[in-house]
Symmetry: C2
Subunit: 471 residues, 2 copies
Amino acid sequence: MRTVGSTDLQQPSAGMADTAESQKVVIVGGGLVGSLAACMFSQRGYRVDLFEYRNDPRLSAVSQGRSINLAMSRRARAALGLVGLEGELLRHGIAMKARMIHDLEGGTREIPYDARTNQCIYSVGRKFLNDVLLSAAEKRSNVRLLFGHKMTGGSLDEGRVEFERTEGGTGGPKAKVKAVEAVGDLVVGCDGAFSSLRRLFMKKPMFNFSQTYIEHGYMELRIPPTADGEFAMPPNFLHIWPRGEFMMIALPNQDRSWTVTLFMPFAQFEAITTEAELLAFFGQHFADAVPLLGEDALVGDFFRSKPQPLVSVKCRPYHAGRALLLGDAAHAMVPFYGQGMNAGFEDVRLLSGLLDGLGGSPAGLADVLRRFSEHRNADAEAICDLAMYNYVEMRDLVNRPSFLLRKALDNALYAVLPDVWVPLYNSVTFSDMRYSECVRNRVWQDQVIRGVLVALLACAALLGLVAFVKA
Amino acid sequence: MRTVGSTDLQQPSAGMADTAESQKVVIVGGGLVGSLAACMFSQRGYRVDLFEYRNDPRLSAVSQGRSINLAMSRRARAALGLVGLEGELLRHGIAMKARMIHDLEGGTREIPYDARTNQCIYSVGRKFLNDVLLSAAEKRSNVRLLFGHKMTGGSLDEGRVEFERTEGGTGGPKAKVKAVEAVGDLVVGCDGAFSSLRRLFMKKPMFNFSQTYIEHGYMELRIPPTADGEFAMPPNFLHIWPRGEFMMIALPNQDRSWTVTLFMPFAQFEAITTEAELLAFFGQHFADAVPLLGEDALVGDFFRSKPQPLVSVKCRPYHAGRALLLGDAAHAMVPFYGQGMNAGFEDVRLLSGLLDGLGGSPAGLADVLRRFSEHRNADAEAICDLAMYNYVEMRDLVNRPSFLLRKALDNALYAVLPDVWVPLYNSVTFSDMRYSECVRNRVWQDQVIRGVLVALLACAALLGLVAFVKA
């Protein structure tokens, strides 16, 4: 059944190889994390074959991913810096310095991301980012990009992956399917939340796995540039319409349009069945956005598309045999902390750090995989949990006085004690602190605040008692 | 590729059928839950085809399952009663009225399962139970048992399942593989923790799933009958050697032997590499059991086998298209509450109850699946969690004074207020209370006890204060 490809895909480097140059890395998935990993490995001297299910995305105008822009922050920047691409992507990105909260009456207020040092997060187009990374990988002589390859099976222990390659375009009646096999000293699964490589992990004993869908779906809408070609809203913000059980957000694009995303329970999406219901719903909850979206475009977009599910995936360990999972394949999260891509890119940077200490022997490589798995799991699960929690914060808590009070207190303490009191959002978004450490830090802050409150109450009671006795 | 079987497996009943008699149920898996489900459906008039991966277990002397005895309690009995088999299995089972705790010095003490009404749990052989259920199903004219069928694929929406059947014994060089397809109005997956049918569920959107392995494995040992053919320990007990991080248990068998199971962290199993280490370990922790196990047999059993993993599986929903998951396929749990089989059998009883209210139409069937899924999920997840918790109780807490005090308090209150204060273990083991309700009930009891303690402390403090002021 299996046909050997015309290329030398089947010639693995010798298992005994002891330098990076003679070692082969097979990457499954040419999305953001896969293409960054290809750059990183090739830079370290490994020979890299990257297999991607889709055709070359650079040849198509439309992004095939569903989420078309991303919030790049410190962790992604650090990883891009590693392969010399941080500058290019920062120039492309649109800085967002604050959340801009839209209330029901159309009023707005800002909540800065970093009140102390004014750091920003950057809205970056997924397609642009992917194209840049693929082209950067392709420039290197030791990287081959192989598109149109669908993974069908393999062996983690042997570092072998099987693909089906469709010749002459995918799926057409004249398409001929060809079986291809690749063998690497290392196989890296960067094939996303529904990873095919992970399916081989599922057959291994002691592999823990969970996938959890939330009851909310999302739908993308669009605010076009104004008639004179400008942004229809202030561009250096992530706009949020928090409405308790649901919310809408908007991120700016290079072409001065906005990608608008509505997050809402599926039941609520389904309850809207007519144009009139849709316009009444938007009129009630997002009145200020309706003229920007345009009624016709809104109706068209809404009824043309279906709300998409949101899934959170955890697993452990990330390695098995000669294989390793990175990015969404290892830890897919709901998008509410803007850390999915950041965490995936950080995987690549951390792995690179572990490879620094490696002589290049396959035995050493096995040790690196084990150490990556052990080190990264708690952090990846922490950010998955934070992302789930942040949905409540974004759609609801930002409207509450208690949240705003805490934010003010955090910012005040952060201004006075910048090394001691880093608020949770800042440590996650603008530092390299381990995600699990960010959470522990926050728990400690909560304890301190509770302790101080109790002490203050006790003092007040004591003072009252003293005053009472004196009187 | 697919060959049609010589039987009429491919002739589904018409989709429009509106009586049970004309409807076909395809059951995947002929273990305990599958064979009970076959009895239940056939009793209700459905035509049942049961497909089992193994060859007919009744033809082999050795049980192919790993865990060879089970603790049958109220929920399993109620479900067996539904198909007229409770009496037969109770006669076979060996009543266990209490836990018998073995301390390090070989001393024992009893902790009754039901101090108030002396209800027992029953040790039943897995093979015997499975054989009885298969034979009961086979007796019915509307049931066909099809062994040696390995599920390979199918469609949940079409109620279609594909199998490979090995002719002339499994795996032999002359074995010929034949593809078989079955279509049912309903497909029921009773194929265990690593369910093949569930793999089709995994491809459905919004299917939540988790599998969690614990860090402990188990190994089965055996205490044979004494030289004069008697039980080597008092038979009407579940014997436990709780040792904190690990434990050993023993359940009585019909042949007067004991099945002994050692639960222990994998690392600890691996640390024992020589006969001397093994005997030193047993001498230190299970001294009184060594002469009963026999040193030679212990050494032989221990080094012949490998510790087996323990997995907890949750998923939601249990239905998709025309298919439903039952038993371990829907909710596999660690074995520490003795409820895995009980919960699986209760699935069958609950499903039967829902079918009572059904006219027999396929539309009604779809509604039953949905309602089963919605009703059962919280309860199944509650018992999965309780089973995980009970490992700590069995191996460690039973040694603690606080546990014994609470047990005494629970039993005293239960004796006085049998309708109001049912201890957790009793509600799980000796009632039909929903598992989730058992947990809520326990939370309420904890609150009451805490409240009473606080009130008592406050009273004591007040009395002290009054005494102080008077003096």
